[in-house]
């Protein structure tokens, strides 16, 4: 049925292009040759096709698989930590390895999994396809970006095998302790971590350059900025944030590397270590905290904004309804992005800052809740009276809304200085940030993978396994993180590698710790189902139709599916509308692809959607 539709469409648009002077002269037929077509690199050998590929689609898949592979290590580390926390009597881990695992888990999940997956993975796969370009602006630089990421990951992994092991300084890597004897991995481990981050930033900058320029300059004809799918808006804004935020991380990493290797005193104050006075003097550890969080807070939105964008598109497609308040959604994405640079010090309320400084940052933090709330309302209003299909992407998107709301609300608590001070070193914070930037974006990642899987492989993922995976992951993550909120309220401190029965800690928390750990093991194991589904479906999955979700955006309108090298066959598409024309009154189908000319949908009253 849908194949048929596509053929008709192509045949007709050829016809229309010939008879251009018929009705309004420029609507259907802008001559194709006004812009020179993009130059494309054609690979000649196996190496340049599959390994050092310059095709953004391949690079996206490479990025995604590398990121997921690294993320699995992060997942296993979380198992190990949780077993230690639930059964401290076993002597499962020593304190040093516990801290090393905490650090590596945090850094891997935030930077090497989520950032790389959303921007490197989905960015590369979707930007050229959704914008209607043949490839990224600078394919060669794009390839370098991926390989810089691979080297960064390898350097990070190498730190597990050096004397002293990986750094155990916490993912925030605060000096002076990060490079002072007594902290695990304070000599080799931390250096490798810093070098790896520097490589990651370098690689990301090359990728980010591509994402920005492709979105701005290489769109299809008729694709104005305000006709872009929200996915692209999210990825684009996140990339801009990253280009401004990652330099702060780079500065911090470079100066700490020098402090550690050469013995300079950028961040290191005069101090006595193991009874000896160190040569450092006068350095400012707080300066590092500012630099780190000037990167660290935008980083939260670098992960969140692509998730916001993707989930908006998933909700619209799978409820067969126009996204509610498209412009407001765009403004919210841009607004959140801008505001995210003015809230960083809310991570530092307990660093001894001036109370007025804290007051300022509490205010900006609460202001950011406004555009965020707008987005949540708009998602719910998109669902309102929609023709909701409870497909896998929809299930995960619904899970995202609930989880994000949950994590966002505890963020409002923590944004207030007076509430944050007692809670800041407890499990309440752990629960908050895992809900809002762990579980919520991961649910979107799953939804997006189930949604775009047919675009990559031409096959559908197994629905039953997917549903089991969803329910275990969704309910399981609440079983993990809800109790942590309670633990935080009764004062269980975070960062402790073992918590015994003591007069200060309620016995209920010990039982909860066991409960949480069992939930972690189950949820983690459920991800194996997902992995099986991911790899097995590439062979065994049901063959997908050409546009299986009946979506409007351009990535589903390529002549071949999965799209071939160059994406668009002979001519790049021409766009006539935004991607949200679902269930238009009078139209034959309940969706109108972006590249379908107006002459083919005469009866439909598009402007009244």
């Amino acid at each position: 049925m849908s194949d048929d539709y596509e053929h008709k469409l192509e045949a007709k648009s050829d016809y229309v292009a010939d008879a251009s002077s018929a009705s309004s002269p420029d609507v259907d037929s802008v001559p194709a040759a006004e812009l020179p077509d993009q130059e494309l690199y054609h690979s000649h050998s196996w190496w340049t096709t599959y390994v050092f590929s310059q095709d953004a689609k391949y690079i996206g898949i490479q990025y995604a698989l590398t990121a997921i592979g690294t993320g699995l290590l992060g997942l296993v580390l979380s198992w190990l930590m949780r077993i230690q926390l639930a059964f401290p009597g076993l002597g499962w881990l020593d304190p040093a390895s516990y801290y090393q695992f905490v650090t590596m888990h945090g850094m891997i999940m935030v930077v090497y999994l989520l950032t790389a997956l959303f921007l490197g993975g989905f960015g590369n796969l979707l930007i050229p396809l959704m914008c209607g370009a043949r490839d990224m602006a600078f394919p060669y630089v794009n390839m370098l970006s991926y390989w810089a990421f691979v080297v960064a990951v390898l350097v990070l992994l190498a730190s597990f095998f050096v004397p002293g092991g990986p750094t155990g300084a916490g993912w925030t890597l605060y000096p002076p302790q990060a490079i002072t004897a007594g902290t695990p991995g304070s000599d080799m481990g931390i250096i490798l971590m810093l070098v790896s981050l520097i490589l990651f930033v370098a690689g990301f900058t090359m990728g980010g350059l591509n994402y920005i320029i492709t979105v701005l300059q290489l769109r299809a004809r008729g694709m104005t900025l305000m006709r872009l799918p929200l996915t692209i808006w999210g990825i684009f804004t996140a990339t801009v944030l990253a280009m401004f935020a990652f330099p702060a991380l780079l500065v911090g990493c470079l100066m700490m590397t020098l402090d550690s290797l050469l013995g300079t005193s950028f961040f290191m104050p005069a101090m006595v270590s193991l009874g000896e006075k160190l040569t450092h003097e006068g350095g400012s550890p707080i300066l590092f905290q500012h630099l780190f969080w000037f990167f660290g807070h935008p980083e939260v939105y670098i992960v969140a904004l692509p998730a916001f964008g993707i989930v908006s598109d998933l909700l619209s497609v799978h409820s067969r309804k126009t996204i509610f308040g498209y412009r407001m959604m765009v403004w919210a994405i841009v607004g959140i992005g801008a505001l995210s640079f003015f809230v960083w010090a809310h991570h530092m309320y307990v660093s001894g800052m001036n109370p007025w400084f804290g007051f300022f940052f509490a205010t900006t933090t609460l202001i950011i809740a406004v555009p965020t709330a707008i987005k949540v309302y708009n998602w719910i209003l998109t669902l309102w009276r929609g023709n909701i299909q409870l497909s896998l992407p929809m299930l995960f998107s619904l899970g995202f809304i609930v989880t994000f709301l949950n994590g966002g609300l505890t963020g409002l608590f923590l944004g207030n200085v007076t509430v944050d001070v007692p809670l800041s070193d407890t499990y309440f914070v752990v629960a908050h940030f895992h809900m809002v930037m762990g579980i919520a974006p991961i649910l979107v990642v799953f939804g997006a993978i189930y949604h775009w899987y047919p675009l990559v492989t031409g096959r559908m993922m197994n629905e039953t396994i997917g549903k089991v995976h969803f329910w275990i992951t969704f309910i399981g993550s609440y079983a993990i993180y809800f109790p942590m909120h309670y633990q935080g309220f009764v004062g269980v401190p975070r960062r402790y590698f073992e918590i015994y029965d003591s007069p200060y800690i309620d016995t209920s928390t010990l039982l909860l710790n066991k409960f949480i750990t069992i939930a972690v093991l189950i949820v983690g194991a459920a991800q194996l189902l997902f992995l099986y589904n991911l790899f097995a479906s590439a062979r065994l999955g049901k063959k997908s139709e050409k546009n299986p979700w009946k979506a409007n955006s351009l990535e589903w309108q390529t002549p071949q599916m999965p799209p071939e090298h160059g994406n668009w066959g002979k001519e790049t598409p021409k766009v006539y509308r935004w991607p949200y024309d679902f269930s238009v009154p009078g139209a034959k189908e309940d969706y109108i692809p972006q590249n379908q000319p107006p002459s083919e949908i005469v009866g439909a009253k598009v402007e009244k959607t």
């Binding site: 500065v251 020098l258 765009v330």
Partner: protein, 210 residues
């Protein structure tokens, strides 16, 4: 490209209204009327500006601590500054020659710029050598450390510039470019050279004044 629109105008378009639909269908797909190389350079310059600004913030913050002892400024640094200034001027002239299609002079200018860029780098290395010989180590005071850090980062930017200068020059000599492409590439390199001059003046000024 139709007429220029401000960001505000772009973001307030209503893509579902029939007037807007007609206007949008005319759109050619580019947001800004410049080549992708030029926009790429601007993006990189924006990111670099953030990078250097953060270094400057760190410098200003660290300066306030009492252990700060400023460095001497060898006269060679002034000389290097002049070299950078001259190479920027020459680049400006080169773009003019390229525009007027006086290619022989363009080529000579490009060579001269390469010579100046390498001399600048060598000059900076000699400054390092002199300072290290007189006992200004990175470890002895943080002001020295900042000096070495700034000159390294700026030098790396210059080396990046030299890489693209080399690509441009070799393409130019091998005559593989059309006229537009020549002007575009030389323009881009020139803008980057001016940018690095400004960065150096700011960094040098900062170090002089403290």
């Amino acid at each position: 490209m139709s007429k220029k629109k401000s960001i505000f105008q772009l973001l307030t378009e209503k893509p579902w209204e029939s007037d807007q639909i007609e206007a949008d269908n005319e759109h050619q797909g580019k947001t800004l009327s410049m080549t992708k190389h030029k926009l790429g350079l601007r993006t990189i310059m924006a990111a670099s500006t953030v990078l250097f600004s953060l270094f400057i913030v760190a410098y200003s913050d660290r300066m306030l601590v009492s252990d700060w002892r400023s460095m001497p400024e060898p006269w060679l640094l002034w000389f290097n500054t002049v070299i950078l200034f001259v190479s920027s001027l020459v680049f400006h002239q080169t773009t003019k020659y390229a525009n007027k299609e006086i290619y022989e002079k363009t080529k000579n200018c490009l060579y001269f710029i390469g010579f100046l860029a390498y001399s600048f780098l060598i000059g900076q290395l000699i400054v390092w050598y002199q300072l290290l010989n007189t006992g200004y180590y990175a470890t002895s005071n943080v002001a020295n450390a900042f000096f070495y850090l700034f000159t390294t980062i700026h030098g790396l930017h210059i080396i990046g510039g030299i890489y693209f200068w080399g690509k441009t020059t070799s393409k130019f000599i091998n005559k593989t470019l059309k006229k537009d492409e020549i002007i575009n590439l030389i323009d881009i390199c020139a803008v980057y050279w001016h940018f690095l001059l400004v960065v150096w003046l700011v960094l040098f000024g900062l170090m002089l004044s403290s």
